[in-house]
């Protein structure tokens, strides 16, 4: 395991921000961390990056306990904070060079890595400009360039795509995939459920300081639903077919409202073929058919009782 959190605890006076949290991240995977406001995500990230002290538990990174060798461990971690954390009065190149130096890079290696990081972030040609002249998307990309200049083994990305244009978001997501392909392990938090669904190999959902569910996107979706809803728009109305549908093994419920037929079936029952045959027997045709997909948003809502976008993820201790 590249990162292991065991019974991690963090208290702020009477408030238990992180409650015996357990999480494991394998080398080379993208782990998505989702949670409503105040779930303890940022506190957890702060403890991993050494910004907050844990009250109890173990943080093991690269097989070493963080508090025993924090400088060496920190040298192999890159952090993309939620806020843009670059100097406005230094050029993009100077910003990346500054962070490269803090990670111990010097001389020709430093220059080479700075060039690579800027190119990777799509900022070649803009390296001599000051970030205050940049668009929001360019600033976000510079924020990432500063975090990857030392080619970290573990990259922690806290909401890296907040408030940017689709083009920059697409660039950043593609960059994250490329980094993973190069072997970087990524811990990723985002407000955008579809980003996490699309990008992350595994997802952990946090609430009230604990991981309440984790697994692949499909595993999480299957946790909350054993049913599928099929909505069909018919060419002709025929109430007799409703009774016929209900007699099909695996159909849980069926009703017709105007020309819209709704059939509730057991998940993965494979009944669509039989349903269409019945409709044909009753001299009607299918104009449209839609199988309702369970989204990560549904999973999140079901598990936490909160909508992720409404709750926000920027909790502060």
């Amino acid at each position: 395991m590249l990162l292991e959190l065991e019974s991690l605890v963090k208290r702020y006076q009477d408030h238990l921000a992180v409650d015996h949290l357990n999480l494991k991240i394998k080398e080379g995977e993208i782990m998505g961390l989702l949670g409503p406001n105040g779930a303890g995500k940022t506190t957890t990230l702060n403890m991993i990056t050494g910004l907050a002290k844990k009250d109890a538990g173990i943080i093991r990174i690269f097989g070493e306990e963080l508090h025993l060798n924090s400088r060496e461990v920190k040298g192999k971690i890159g952090v993309v904070p939620q806020e843009i954390a670059v100097f406005d009065d230094l050029t993009a190149e100077e910003n990346v060079t500054f962070f490269g130096k803090l990670y111990g890079l010097r001389g020709s290696l430093l220059r080479e890595r700075v060039k690579e990081a800027l190119a990777f972030s799509g900022l070649t040609g803009h390296e001599k400009q000051f970030p205050k002249k940049y668009s929001g998307g360019m600033k976000r990309r510079l924020n990432i360039a500063c975090a990857i200049v030392h080619q970290p083994r573990l990259l922690i990305m806290d909401e890296p795509t907040v408030g940017i244009d689709p083009q920059s978001r697409s660039h950043i997501l593609e960059s994250v995939r490329t980094l993973q392909q190069k072997g970087t392990t990524i811990l990723y938090t985002s407000h955008y459920m579809e980003e996490v669904d699309d990008l992350c190999s595994r997802i952990a959902i946090m609430d009230q300081g604990r991981i309440i569910a984790q697994g692949t996107s499909e595993e999480l979706k299957s946790m909350i639903s054993s049913e599928e809803r099929i909505d069909i728009i018919l060419s002709e109305i025929n109430y007799s077919l409703v009774d016929e549908m209900k007699r099909l093994p695996g159909v849980l419920e069926c009703h017709l409202e105007g020309k819209k037929l709704t059939v509730l079936v057991q998940k993965d029952s494979g009944l669509i073929g039989k349903i269409s045959q019945i409709i044909g027997r009753f001299d009607s045709e299918i104009r449209s058919l839609q199988v309702e997909k369970i989204t990560l948003e549904n999973v999140f809502l079901t598990l936490t009782g909160k909508s992720l976008r409404d709750s926000g993820t920027g909790e502060q201790p």
Partner: protein
């Protein structure tokens, strides 16, 4: 090496903040010029005219010899012109006819150790001359009454124009000190942004040690203040002809300590209140108040031993100004040592408070 990285990149940013940098240099220069020119008459030193003094000493004892020596030394200083006369009548006559401004007569005493009283006759037309002569004779009598031999009488040095600051000299020191103290603003905003803010947190996630980060920032902010001060000193010396004395090293040390006080003050404030706007506002109130208390805007003479004279020692401006004036105009070393010592205490307390607050604020 990481301290150097933090130092260098912070200094670069401070330097690139041109508007603040220029403001911190041009404002003191403008104030020095405006105050120096407009208040010059208040600092004008009137040179005393030489007082033509007839002298008749009948006393043959040590008092008589001492008085002659004392007055001859004042003649060498250009304060008096002694005209010995042979009789009391001749002395009085010279004053009556206007040949002398005053007549000093020491009659023979009863014994060698009991001299008679010194008699002073002036033309009464100029009270300044009269008061100068009275002061001189008083200081002589005080010395004599403590049974000091005439050759050991050491009159107090008198002020002359070349050892007193003019308006430009005075305000060059006080305004520079005021703007050194305003340099605390660099620490407030620098520390908030680069230590407590998002960039600071990001830096804290790197392998850099907190101490390297902290002292790199402190040194950069201190250097920014010192560079501005050096420019102000060189400019005022060259263009305004301000007297900065001959002991450049000691002046440099005092400026360095004043810069450390300002840096410590700003760092401590922002670490304690954790809010750059509030800390900045406190400094904007504190610095003019400290300058006022130190007599930085206009000279204030509080009587020695009064509570307000002790209160002045709480103003870093007063300490730095006193140390600078004493260095430039040749005062006693003890004053310099005391003021530098108190400044050292200020610096220690400020940085200790900043460090403790920083540790307390760490999550």
């Amino acid at each position: 090496m990481s301290v150097v990285t933090i130092f260098w990149y912070t200094l670069k940013q401070n330097w690139r903040d041109r508007s603040t940098y220029l403001e911190m240099m041009l404002l003191p220069l403008a104030l020095i010029f405006i105050l120096g020119v407009s208040l010059a008459p208040a600092f004008h030193v009137t040179l005393l005219p030489t007082i033509e003094t007839a002298l008749f000493v009948e006393d043959q004892g040590p008092a008589g010899a001492g008085l002659k020596q004392f007055l001859l030394e004042r003649e060498e200083e250009g304060l008096l012109k002694i005209q010995p006369v042979l009789t009391e009548q001749a002395g009085k006559e010279r004053v009556k006819t206007g040949e002398s401004h005053a007549f000093i007569h020491l009659p023979a005493g009863d014994t060698a150790l009991q001299p008679a009283s010194i008699q002073l006759l002036t033309d009464s037309q100029n009270s300044l001359r009269t008061s100068v002569l009275e002061s001189l004779l008083n200081s002589f009598v005080i010395g004599l009454s403590s049974e000091i031999q005439p050759e050991q009488i050491l009159p107090r040095p008198l002020a002359a124009s070349e050892v007193l600051p003019g308006a430009m000299d005075y305000y060059a020191v006080t305004m520079m000190v005021m703007f050194i103290m305003y340099g605390a603003i660099y620490s407030v905003y620098g520390m908030k942004h680069c230590y407590l803010g998002p960039v600071g947190k990001r830096i804290a996630s790197t392998p850099l040690l907190p101490g390297q980060h902290y002292w790199g920032l402190v040194l950069a902010n201190l250097t920014t203040i010192l560079m501005q001060s050096v420019i102000v000193v060189l400019f005022t010396r060259t263009v305004f002809g301000v007297n900065w004395g001959t002991n450049a090293l000691l002046v440099g040390v005092i400026i360095l300590l004043a810069g450390l006080v300002a840096t410590g003050l700003g760092t401590a404030l922002v670490m304690i209140v954790q809010d750059e706007t509030l800390a900045g506002n406190i400094i904007n109130v504190l610095v003019p108040a400290m300058t006022f208390l130190a007599g930085g805007f206009f000279r204030i003479n509080f009587s020695d031993g009064s509570w307000i004279s002790y209160l002045q020692y709480l103003s870093p401006n007063y300490l730095a100004q006193t140390a600078l004036f004493t260095t430039i105009y040749g005062g006693d070393d003890l004053t310099i040592m005391v003021t530098l010592g108190v400044m050292g205490l200020f610096i220690s307390v400020a940085f200790l408070a900043a460090l403790l607050s920083e540790r307390r604020a760490r999550i």
